[in-house]
Symmetry: C2
Subunit: 343 residues, 2 copies
């Protein structure tokens, strides 16, 4: 029964009738299969064209048991961090004949909960970069294979153990150590970290940073900034806080590249030369880091490798028999220091 107003689309049967052949012959023609004469094939394709026939995904996928649709949940695709990552997933997914379904889940308590469930229902596995609570994760994804990206330890530990859940996390310590060596080596003494306060936060960054700085005989400075919609403003705010205080830093490691751009901007507004008066280092290695002046020194994440790890794990989970145990896999990636002009 066609829905209101819509006429039913032509099916394989109509095409078969119009072409005067069997359904099977239509299948052969449409899918470039052998065992059909050129003439019959042409007649069938003409009939299909005339009826605007297109094989139904549903019927086809049902019988072929395809299951190659990957959901990627990010908070905001307009954020270059997520779009660069999504771009890598697009390449990897395409190379493996998976469709990549992008789902935006903007931060906030219960924004579009039902919507999310609907979208997730269209997908055979998912990769999520989000700060959803463990409880919500279980409710939304059910027993769908899911790989979490850069999730808080606390979240991971609270996940239902019977569900297929893995994770790829970012290990900040090695990169941070490399930056600190670089900054200390170039004579910086008051090194600050911009740390955005998130509700789900764990302060693990702060502690790692403080330890690493002390290891190098310097005193750590942590600039705490409230999370905002706009990381650019977060960066500017960080500079305001740090430079309105008694002992301003001579090096700033931003929370990420986006906030580093804000740091650069506010320093320029205050006529503080970068890197002479203050070095600035970002985290992520976004492509637009070379757009600004001076070009941003940063800890680059290998997005392609990051995405590949997650994708491999998804495929792995999908291939595991449902009865077999699904030990949650934990993988890690870390950064590489890219020294440019800002530090």
């Amino acid at each position: 029964m066609p829905k209101r107003g819509e006429t039913k689309r032509a099916g394989i049967i109509e095409v078969a009738e119009l072409a005067g052949v069997s359904r099977q012959t239509v299948t052969r023609a449409m899918n470039d299969m052998p065992g059909i004469s050129a003439q019959t094939k042409r007649r069938v394709l003409e009939a299909a064209e005339q009826l605007r026939y297109r094989p139904s995904r549903f019927g086809r996928e049902l019988v072929q048991q395809s299951a190659r649709s990957l959901g990627l949940i990010v908070s905001d695709l307009a954020n270059p961090y997520f779009s660069e990552l999504a771009s890598e997933f697009a390449k990897i997914a395409a190379a493996n004949q998976w469709a990549l379904v992008i789902i935006e889940k903007h931060p906030g308590p219960d924004t579009g909960w039902e919507q999310l469930r609907t979208l997730v229902g269209q997908v055979d596995a998912a990769i999520a970069y989000t700060d959803l609570a463990p409880h919500d994760i279980d409710r939304i994804f059910g027993s769908l294979p899911l790989v979490l990206l850069d999730a808080a330890e606390r979240t991971l530990n609270a996940l239902s153990p019977s569900r297929p859940r893995s994770a790829v996390n970012i290990d900040l310590a090695p990169g941070l150590a490399a930056v600190l060596d670089h900054l200390v080596g170039s004579g910086r003494s008051r090194i600050a970290l911009v740390d955005i306060r998130y509700p789900t936060d764990e302060s693990v960054r702060r502690e790692t940073f403080a330890r690493l700085v002390r290891d190098r005989g310097r005193e750590p400075v942590v600039i705490e900034v409230e999370a905002g919609d706009d990381d650019l403003l977060v960066g500017r705010r960080a500079v305001q806080i740090a430079f309105d205080a008694p002992h301003p830093p001579d090096a700033i490691i931003a929370f990420n590249d986006m906030s580093a751009f804000g740091v650069l901007k506010e320093l320029r507004v205050r006529d503080l030369a970068v890197p002479e008066a203050c070095a600035v280092v970002g985290i992520d290695g976004l492509k637009i880091g070379v757009f600004v002046e001076p070009e941003l020194t940063t800890l680059r994440l290998d997005f392609a490798a990051f995405a590949q790890l997650a994708f491999d794990e998804v495929v792995n989970m999908c291939a595991t028999a449902p009865g077999a145990p699904q030990p949650p896999i934990r993988r890690h990636v870390s950064h590489e220091l890219v020294v440019r002009q800002s530090g």
Copy 2:
């Protein structure tokens, strides 16, 4: 017959048997439908959980005739222009319960032709921002409803008229007129347009620009640059060309924001003050336009409106009966001038 190594996923029948009920009762429990006792429902859900049961999309969609999967083809999702656009599509699609499938088709003759067909087969309609030849469009999309974004007139005219094809194009003239009024009004006399040469190009930009400039009693300057992988370099190259020539411009309208960033950068390298020595105006209105120094004056495109037009047209095409005529719809969007610091 399960594929190599993989065990068949639990189906509704297994769940029904384990719970000791009929398939229909399982359906009722899984979908929160009425007509089931709380106790039975709980028993069924437990059985489902135990078997890691998840209703098959294929079976479900087959019987429900869903057809709510939208493909978005872009050349490079890591390019902020496309990701900001894609982000709007994600919001619109989600609000209408469509899944958004992102497909990257990087420029180049026959890169992943078969791959593209496979992906397109997973989708019920598509929106494409690409410079594919009309011939390839017909072969790849067949009779799939398709909306082209900012396609060349030549391409549109060559499309097979029997296929459901519409288009939303960008009308540059109104925005360009606004910029020129602004630049002339602030005393600029040698106004240049950076024009990237693409293979499929039509030089329509150049002509519109030249006409509008002459209308205002100034002499147009067109800086032609070969297309490259990197719009930033294109912008820098444009400045090199223009300022190594006898009469450099005092205002540059870049091909897009990304190349405008390159223009800004090269001007800074040459110690030319912006906007004093040379005004710079971008096109697109990307969010990162406020990240650079000085902030970029630009012609902003309303991405949300652009996407909404395309989406509405897709829905419209899908709702049209296959027998009914499908007159190709052509819609247009234009820019709004956003004056910031660079011009």
